[in-house]
């Protein structure tokens, strides 16, 4: 399905900023959060360092935090001139509209899409598919080997939904991109779940951002080559200074991956 001819399009390096109480935090397997700085400052720094895109996730997603996140998006948009996606607790097309108008390029929908899949088609028809990101938190199924189950509510609630089927349905409904997080790998720095990445990239024709598990430069390469990911997302290894964005891009470019350097 994914033809060689797209080889020219550069692969993207996307730092992810999980935001709680107006601070960037990062945990392991969605737990044990550590402080990683101010979201606007950190976003601007990553942009200056050559990040291709940013993702901001409001991980509290309460009514109060939703207001804060709009203000955050406005501030980021005044200072950062690369695309960024915002997600976390978005439930309606109106909320999507507010965030896009505040300066976000894309919005990501997770739990709300499981509860009400038509939000994807309504969003696509109004804003175009390219603004609608379906975020999937997937975990290896204990009952069904070789399958992944979709988890919702920031990963706290497992569902019976198969991640690969859900990704394909999401595309059909109008999602323009998939932000795919392996809950098993998240924050472990032990590498992306490339079986998961490959299963999803084989099943859809929209871009897939691989997320969860980046620890070394080789992990990024593997996600792109073995997982066929169009973009790689990372948090721990950029926030805590393991690698600069330039180091990541140079490494991948040296190994033959098209990058915007």
């Amino acid at each position: 399905m994914r033809k060689e001819e797209i080889a020219m399009l550069t692969r993207r390096i996307i730092p992810c900023l999980d935001v709680k109480d107006n601070r960037v935090v990062k945990g392991v397997n969605f737990l044990n959060l550590r402080d990683a700085g101010d979201p606007v400052e950190l976003g601007a720094r990553y942009s200056d360092m050559g990040a291709d895109e940013l993702v901001f996730l409001d991980i509290t997603a309460t009514i109060r935090s939703r207001k804060t996140i709009v203000e955050l998006v406005e501030k980021v948009a005044e200072n950062v001139f690369i695309p960024f996606t915002v997600g976390g607790g978005i439930q309606t097309v109106e909320q999507m509209d507010t965030l896009l108008r505040s300066g976000a390029e894309k919005v990501s929908i997770n739990t709300a899409a499981v509860a009400n899949p038509t939000i994807l088609s309504e969003g696509a028809e109004r804003f175009g598919s390219q603004c609608v990101v379906l975020a999937i938190d997937a975990r290896r199924s204990k009952d069904r080997p070789g399958k992944w189950q979709v988890c919702i509510k920031a990963g706290s609630e497992p569902t019976d939904i198969d991640a690969v089927e859900w990704a394909a349905l999401g595309e059909e409904l109008g999602a323009g991109e998939i932000l795919l997080t392996s809950m098993d790998a998240d924050g472990t720095k032990a590498g992306y779940d490339n079986e998961l990445n490959k299963a999803i990239t084989d099943a859809v024709n929209i871009p897939v951002i691989a997320s969860g598990g980046a620890g070394t430069l080789e992990h990024l390469y593997d996600a792109i080559v073995d997982g066929c990911a169009d973009a790689v997302l990372m948090a721990s290894i950029t926030h805590f200074g393991n690698f600069t964005i330039t180091e990541m891009k140079q490494y991948l470019a040296d190994r033959g991956i098209p990058m915007n350097l």
């Binding site: 993207r12 948009a77 005044e78 169009d230």
Partner: protein
């Protein structure tokens, strides 16, 4: 002053932010009197084509009028696509018709939307690209592209399994399929170039 058309779509504010960041004053407005006074007009747009055309409404005629008087017009993304005659995104829709050609789906057989930073070959004779060299990366996010069919139009292309139209210039009408307001310093340079074009025309 440059006027950014304020209609009910996304990225309008990002375009204003970007001009402000480079020290260029712009006015965000949907007031016909303000638009008539503009030194140049920017038509942004993150939306589906049909939605954008509907929201633009009667301002479409005014924008055509301003462009026909020779004032610089810059369309970005869906604003760029609206410069053309027709689109078939979620139904058949009519654009401004300033440039001949139609907006059609990117052919299957590759990842769609075309999303990310792709290299654009920059022709020397296109004013928006002054001082940028012969090729640069810009940020794209779209599923439809403008199939230009206008001999008076200069075109810059990007490669996505075929030569895809990335930017056009026809007289004082300019457009970019990519997002200069989200393409880092290179994108900001394009907006600066447009601001200079508007200054010269004044």
């Amino acid at each position: 002053m440059i006027v950014v058309i304020d209609y009910n779509v996304g990225n309008v504010k990002s375009v204003c932010n970007a001009f402000e960041y480079i020290g260029r004053k712009v006015q965000l407005s949907c007031d016909p009197d303000v638009i008539r006074q503009a030194t140049g007009v920017v038509l942004p747009g993150v939306a589906a084509f049909g939605y954008a055309v509907r929201e633009l409404g009667t301002l479409a005629e005014l924008i055509k009028e301003v462009a026909s008087e020779g004032r610089p017009l810059l369309g970005i993304c869906v604003g760029f696509q609206m410069l053309f005659e027709r689109s078939c995104e979620y139904g058949e829709h009519t654009g401004l018709g300033l440039i001949r050609g139609n907006v059609v789906p990117i052919p299957a057989g590759r990842v769609i939307p075309h999303m990310g930073w792709n290299k654009v070959e920059l022709p020397e004779d296109m004013d928006l690209f002054a001082g940028l060299g012969d090729a640069k990366h810009f940020y794209f996010a779209h599923s439809f592209y403008a199939d230009v069919n206008d001999s008076e139009c200069r075109v810059a292309y990007t490669e996505y399994g075929f030569d895809m139209q990335a930017s056009v210039q026809k007289g004082n009408v300019y457009g970019t399929q990519f997002h200069p307001e989200k393409s880092g310093p290179t994108g900001l340079k394009i907006l600066e170039n447009f601001a200079q074009i508007c200054e010269k025309k004044k």
